[in-house]
């Protein structure tokens, strides 16, 4: 008999990723249909109810409590107890040597110079402020921090000569150390300032794979280049690289800044003789891989040669075309927002109509319903509508795997286009998790995957590329190449 059992655990707080992992493990128990493990906020309580996970007494939960809910077939009377046991692992770990506040952390680590903050947005600004008061640079991974708070923090930081990277800053590499979602790259003389996380990951990985290295890669968060924020962090990062003796070439990556901000950037650039590559996605026709290759050429003093071999990609598309069983459209399922954006730009620029996206660039149609794809659809699964109550798709593949299987089998789908982002922060076992769904998909449609990362990353990149190819996946090592390949393929399908 289907029933929902639940428990309110008072006064405990555990980070959201751990909670979701436990919920995931519980879903794998025999007899369990669904499970959720969340903080007892009123939003989450509504979420549970609307997901048929409500239980008696649920309303008693407060945001100081955790709520575990399990919908199961009743076959195991101990199910709640077994689920709670998974928490006890955490309890033991909690009692190990740990700090509960920034203050006490500083006592233990007086050398600290950066606070990496990834707590819920509602609280993040306060913690960032406290960190700045303690003379720490701040990387604010958290999103859902208001624009006003961002402006205040960045001004506050600037007054103290401290960087505020973020909010919503997913990637940075400082002193060679990958921060949040970032790759292990060679150290060298190319410095990067980026308003895009996966954009930063792409260029730094490619630069490293081409044999050059990164001095510092500074993230700014997605809103930094808006008029209201005025590019505070972008300009500070730029200033840093201008004066950094290790940095010989500067690479800037973002969507086009607000004109007023662009003016300030150009003013700033007059202060240096160092070569600067400006990669403003959507403005120039170039792609991230080209910008990375250009920076490498500059640092070597070489003549720039495009990394994109159009004729080879066209030939490859012809070969893939022969294997297509049905349909005429591409379904692009992305975990990196910048990759879905870059792919849209490539398709738009090469004249494709009938392109839809949930986060469209100008000239691309907006999907009426992000969950119902139409024609050529380029979807960013990291957008809010997909990530409520679940981890980011770069960590948890559940939703994307489902879509891979579903979309591949639709009659209108000719092929799939995916990104796979390696590095710290991302899923540590991507091959194991994605392979079953790829196998299903490959029965119906070819799959093109661009793999982002380096051989220094914790996932085994070479093995991943090799195994994917063995499965029959078409593997590219930059998002632009994959998008261009897709474009040639679509042309054949027209």
């Amino acid at each position: 008999m289907i029933q929902v059992d639940g428990k309110i655990i008072k006064g405990r707080y555990i980070d959201s990723v751990f909670l979701m992992r436990v919920a995931k493990d519980v879903r794998a128990f025999t007899g369990v249909l669904d499970s959720a493990f969340v903080v007892g906020t009123s939003e989450n309580i509504e979420l549970l109810k609307s997901s048929a996970l409500g239980f008696d007494g649920l309303e008693e939960a407060s945001s100081n409590d955790l709520v575990l809910a399990i919908r199961h077939d009743g076959s195991n009377p101990e199910i709640l107890k077994e689920a709670l046991a998974l928490l006890e692992v955490s309890k033991k770990e909690e009692h190990a040597e740990s700090c509960k506040s920034c203050d006490s952390a500083l006592k233990k680590l007086p050398s600290a110079n950066l606070a990496l903050i990834s707590i819920a947005g509602k609280y993040a600004a306060d913690e960032a402020r406290k960190a700045l008061d303690k003379n720490l640079h701040v990387m604010l991974f958290s999103d859902n921090v208001s624009l006003e708070e961002e402006i205040h923090l960045k001004n506050y930081g600037r007054d103290r000569n401290l960087l505020v990277m973020g909010p919503d800053c997913g990637t940075a590499i400082l002193g060679g150390v990958p921060l949040a979602f970032a790759n292990v790259v060679k150290r060298g003389s190319i410095g990067v300032v980026a308003a895009s996380g996966t954009g930063l990951q792409e260029v730094t990985s490619i630069i490293s794979n081409l044999g050059e290295g990164i001095s510092e890669a500074i993230g700014t968060g997605g809103r930094d280049l808006k008029k209201e924020v005025g590019g505070i962090t972008f300009l500070m990062g730029l200033d840093l690289l201008i004066h950094d003796p290790k940095t010989k070439v500067i690479l800037l990556v973002s969507k086009p800044p607000h004109p007023e901000v662009l003016l300030k950037i150009n003013e700033k650039l007059k202060e240096t003789h160092k070569p600067v590559v400006k990669m403003f996605l959507g403005e120039s026709k170039s792609t991230l891989v080209e910008a990375a290759a250009y920076a490498v050429a500059l640092s070597r003093g070489d003549v720039y040669l495009s990394p994109l071999n159009e004729s080879a990609l066209k030939d490859e598309a012809d070969q893939i075309f022969k294997t297509i069983k049905k349909g005429k459209y591409v379904r692009g399922l992305y975990s990196g927002g910048t990759f879905s954006f870059e792919t849209q730009l490539v398709l738009k620029e090469r004249g494709h109509k009938d392109v839809f996206a949930n986060a469209p660039c100008t000239g691309v149609n907006k999907l009426a319903n992000s969950f119902v794809l139409q024609q050529n659809s380029i979807v960013d699964l990291g957008e809010d509508e997909f990530t409520v109550g679940r981890p980011h798709p770069m960590i948890d593949f559940t939703l994307r795997n489902k879509k891979i299987e579903e979309e591949s089998q639709l009659p209108e789908t000719a092929f799939l286009l995916l990104d796979l982002v390696l590095g710290y922060g991302s899923n540590l076992k991507p091959l194991e998790e994605i392979t079953p769904s790829l196998k299903v998909a490959l029965n119906s449609s070819p799959v093109i995957i661009s793999v982002t990362g380096t051989d220094g990353d914790p996932q085994d990149r070479q093995r991943i590329i090799h195994e994917l190819k063995s499965l029959g996946v078409i593997v590219k090592e930059s998002n632009a190449e994959a998008a261009i390949l897709a474009s040639y393929l679509l042309k054949r399908l027209e």
Binding site: G11, Y13, D15, S16, V17, F18, S63, N64, E94, H95, A96, E97, S98, C99, K100, S101, C102, D103, S104, A105, L106, K108, L109, S111, A112, N113, L114, A115, L116, I117, S118, I119, A120, K122, Y123, E127, A131, L136, H137, F141, S142, L174, G175, G176, V177, P178, L179, A180, A182, V184, E216, L240, D244, Y424, G425, P458
Partner: protein
């Protein structure tokens, strides 16, 4: 830019993986959201943090100067200022008869029978219902009592003086374990024992204590006991032994005969918690001088009456801030379980308020068997309390923490900001009057009293 990156990670623990693998100096913070208070209170407190800080410096320095000394004994009605013939003092914040839990009612009934004001349960209840009996918290009369904490006029009390400031604190003699008044028992056996304590134990102890030229310094006993496996709330064996060593010759000296000397010595010796009432009085004596310092966020009282959990702050004078008394996460004695438990009760949380008890758990590894943990659990609890306290005691040191001073002086602002509640080691009473102790364990103070106190403190600016 940054020569060597050194990271404080606040949030997702998985982000520390590259730091571990690449050997980057880092410290993870197990962050949790602060307790919810009104934004107006929050901004007032934040705005005045310097004023609060200075007030707290004054408060904690008074606490640190405390020297609790056992000066003598007397009857409650004679020694406790403003004590009355019809006044019964009880543990915890103010409470009416109607709201009292089982064990406290039982103890009140027992006290009335002991006083000769009632003969049995029904006459006692009739007397209370007539309105002739007044109730008040021990804390409002410079006293403290464990469990039900009942002090009635005829009861003998210890008189502890804080020699640094001259203020007094009073507590009764601990009856022992099992079916005793403080657990709500009121059988003939209980009353008879109380009479014996009044007629034999008290006179001898009073003389023994008072004829000493050098009075018994409770601070010295406590600081030694902490280095012998006690935390002087739930574990008092070493302190009781030290007290016994100090007082035994005096008892032998003053006792009228061998039998009475022996009975007194055996009584003390048979009760591992005899010292508890003295440690509680010592803690109260240490904390009271820090009261009434404007703007200070120091917690000066934590106390429970079995129904409510109450606290008082230095900066808000005598006001009580209460919430529901929680249940203890306990290990139960054979035959009992959580369904039998009474909510948390007693003034003994004054020990934690003074930085001892659960805060000094790292001194008392034996306690952890009640917590189902390891020695590391005890260490972790003590270490966590440093996050919410104002100082490390200059006197009471914990050997296992490399002789770090105990975390002393709970700051309500830190409790709210860091969402860390004080940990309390305690016994569990059966919810029915008179059954006795059914278990022991650890609990966290509830959030409500601290939120209320914070809000009220903000209003004092």
């Amino acid at each position: 830019m940054i020569n060597q990156l050194s990271v404080i990670n606040i949030g997702l623990e998985s982000f520390t993986l590259p730091f571990k693998e690449l050997k980057t100096p880092h410290q993870h913070v197990e962050w949790r959201p602060s307790l919810e208070v009104s934004s107006s209170a929050k901004s007032v407190i934040t705005q005045h943090h310097e004023k609060i800080h200075n007030a707290n410096l004054e408060a904690i320095s008074k606490v640190e100067k405390g020297v609790p000394v056992l000066h003598g004994m007397g009857r409650a009605i004679d020694l406790i200022p403003h004590m009355k013939k019809n006044l019964i003092l009880h543990a915890g914040p103010p409470i009416t008869w109607k709201r009292m839990c089982g064990p406290m009612r039982g103890a009140v009934i027992g006290a009335l029978i002991y006083e000769g004001m009632a003969t049995d349960e029904s006459s006692a209840e009739e007397l209370v219902n007539s309105g002739k009996i007044e109730f008040a918290p021990c804390h409002e009369y410079s006293a403290v009592g464990p469990m039900a904490g009942i002090i009635s006029p005829s009861m003998p009390v210890f008189a502890v003086q804080n020699d640094a400031f001259g203020n007094m604190a009073y507590s009764t003699q601990n009856e022992g374990l099992g079916k005793v008044l403080r657990y709500g028992a009121y059988s003939t056996e209980v009353i008879d024992r109380l009479k014996w304590m009044q007629d034999v134990l008290y006179p001898i102890l009073k003389l023994a204590i008072e004829q000493r030229s050098e009075k018994i310094n409770l601070k010295t006993i406590i600081l030694q006991a902490l280095q012998m496996g006690d935390e002087v709330h739930n574990r008092n064996r070493a302190a009781t032994s030290l007290f016994y060593r100090a007082i035994a010759p005096d008892i032998v000296t003053v006792a009228p005969d061998k039998e009475s000397a022996l009975s007194v010595l055996n009584f003390i010796n048979s009760n591992d918690h005899f010292f508890l009432n003295l440690s509680m009085a010592a803690c109260k004596a240490i904390l009271d001088p820090a009261r009434d310092i404007p703007y200070s966020s120091l917690v000066v009282v934590m106390a429970r009456n079995g129904t409510d959990f109450g606290i008082q702050l230095s900066g808000t004078k005598g006001e009580w801030f209460t919430g529901k008394a929680p249940f203890v996460d306990a290990l139960y004695f054979q035959g009992y379980s959580s369904v039998d438990a009474n909510p948390d009760i007693g003034d003994s949380a004054i020990t934690e308020t003074a930085g001892l008890g659960g805060f000094a758990m790292a001194s008392a590894f034996a306690i952890v068997q009640f917590v189902g943990g390891t020695a590391n659990t005890a260490l972790a609890f003590s270490k966590e309390m440093y996050e919410i306290t104002l100082s490390e005691s200059p006197h009471y040191k914990i050997p296992s923490l490399n002789f770090q001073g105990t975390p002393t002086g709970i700051d309500v602002v830190s409790v709210i900001d860091k969402n860390i509640l004080p940990v309390i080691n305690t016994g569990v009473a059966h919810k029915k009057a008179g059954v006795g102790q059914i278990g022991a364990g650890v609990l966290r103070a509830p959030t409500e009293p601290f939120v209320k106190a914070y809000e009220k403190l903000a209003l004092t600016f």
